[in-house]
Amino acid sequence: MRAPIVRFALVSCAMLVVGAVRTHAAPPPPVEASAHDLPWDDGTAIEITWRAPESATNIAGYRVYRLLSTEEQKRALRDRRVAAADVAWKAAYESNTSASDRIELATAAATAAAERAGAEGMPDEVAVGTAAANALRYVAAPVESGRAIAFRVRSFDADGNESPAAEAGSAAATIEIFLGTRAWFFPLLIGLCAIIIGCILLARAGRPIKVRRIAGLDAIDEAVGRATEMGRPVLYIAGVQDMDNVQTVAGVTILGRVAKIAAEYDAKIEVPTARSLVMTAARDVVQTAYFEAGRHDAYNPDTIRYITDEQFGYVAYVAGRMVREKPATCIYMGQFYAESLLLSENGNAINAIQIAGTAESSQLPFFVAACDYTLIGEEFFAASAYLAGEPTQLGSLFGQDVSKLIAMVVIVAGVILSTLGGLGLSMPKAASDYLANSILAS
């Protein structure tokens, strides 16, 4: 009676084991795996593609492996031997505290461990990443440019069991002539430039350009005049960055216009700078402005001086100067950080007229709070053209406004498409996705 029970139990167990093995069976490998250079890139990526095996239901994802070169295998083997020897040496050395030949013992243990580690052999591959079950491609990046690298792909199930490998072959990443990811950005940039140049040409052809008034810039004349009346200087700060910053370039350009007005009004202009290159550029600009105003005799290069690159050292100097000299007008045009409020509050305390302009949005609230006039972002970039008043400059300003209008139209179109897409319409959704993920992400 017992024998059938035992047999039944054994058979049941065997079935369970077989069942378990069945559920843990490796999934089938992917098919048609191939590796090729990722087109239109900077030569640092290889794309690996494959197809899902037919009748495969238990695939949780795919794992991509890079085959190691002989050199890499040798290096990896050496590292493993060294690490094993190191551990063995330390263990043997520490456990044989009383032995007189503990160093020899430790060395022998290390040699043996290194040999064991070497005998295990080395895997000839390294995992580079995984792809989801529905993603039948993987981009291996960054890889060395121009060297053929081989890949293989294995599928795996939810328990982590891997299929046999599907060899994808080898491919070398090559540098292409153009970055495909920026394909949309290029025509957008060309379009933007074309609009601005077109508007400049229109203005040059004599078409009248009307620009909106900017109160802060209209106030410059009055502010410089006030300095002359009071017999006090105009303080001009062109930001705290170097000439490679576009805001500094704009700040120095505006300085030329302000210096010309100051020369005409016979007001003294002081320009402390936080960068040496800005000092040289500012001197050239102010000298030219005085020359153009017919006042080259009044130009004094010593009023344009370098202070320090150190942000707060610079602030300390300018604030001290403000308190001592009490300039009638303070103009801040350029890139500013924490010094924005430190400077403008000091200017406020000495009752100076203050005009600020910056594209550093985080500092705008401080300038707005402490200054009489603030040029916000694009107004600041429009300032030099606005003050120049020449057709070419005004044309570029008009181009800036036209580009802004186009940007607004694109935003409204995007919002409409996205809203319609959200309501379940497939075409607008596809269009808004394309706009967001391909055109604007380029």
């Binding site: 640092t44 990046a141 960054p142 942000q311 924490a338 305390a349 985080s362």
Partner: protein
Amino acid sequence: MLKFLEQLDRRVAFLLMGLAVAIPILFPLPLSYKPSPLAQSAFDAIDRLPDGSKVVFSFDYDPASSGELQPMSNALVYHCARKRHKLYFMALWAPGKTICTETIATVLLKYRPDAAYGEDYVELGYQSGNEGVIKIAATDLRQQYKTDIKGTPLEAIPMMEGVNNLQAMDLLITISAGYPGSKEWVQYFSTPFPRTRMITGTTGVQSVSLYPYIPNQIAGMLGAIKGAAEYETIVNEQYPVNGKPVPELGEGQRRMGPQLVAHMLMVSLILLGNAIFFMQRKARREGRR
């Protein structure tokens, strides 16, 4: 009364602000914090990486802003130390290098004394060139950094093996006080190379300008001392030492006391300013009648 308020010297505001900050420093307030989603996602970005992942840490600030930023640097380095990540330290600001060395000594080596230089962490130091450093290091690290701060060639540093550029990193952490900083990292690194995730710690003023980059370019952000306090709360909960909060990770929470009183003072000053404004307007109207 109105005349007195109108002529109120701004130094009175200065004095009140001084007291509002000094008193809570001397007598700490018992406050508690709930981590914001941004701090939580910064924590997750570090925590979900497998132990021993490659993390590049950029110290882009100077002593002036270390009052606001050092607590979060400590918390982030501590968290990475407990996760045993491999840390690559660099700085876009010259003073950042010194701050970085101090942080390694006071936090990393204290809580991970077994960390070996060159294997678990390396100091690449400061390089001039602002965003140029990011651009070059993103594609060719060895062109930008020939040696580490000790003068050792990168080829001789074990953990630099296979690291040819910053794209080889699993995570970028930048602690930033301005230019060059988080915004430049977004522009020149996390946008063109999205594989490496980025988290940032930043000053309060700057944090507002970084919101547009969340979550696509920036995975998590710690904004000012509040962000640090929140991060300290999470890390102290998840990775305490002997069941107790880490002593180095309390500074952010402690500094929230002065911040609370200072903010309340600001609110009061604004209210007072408006009271004066309305009283003036009323007096003017009555004068006109």
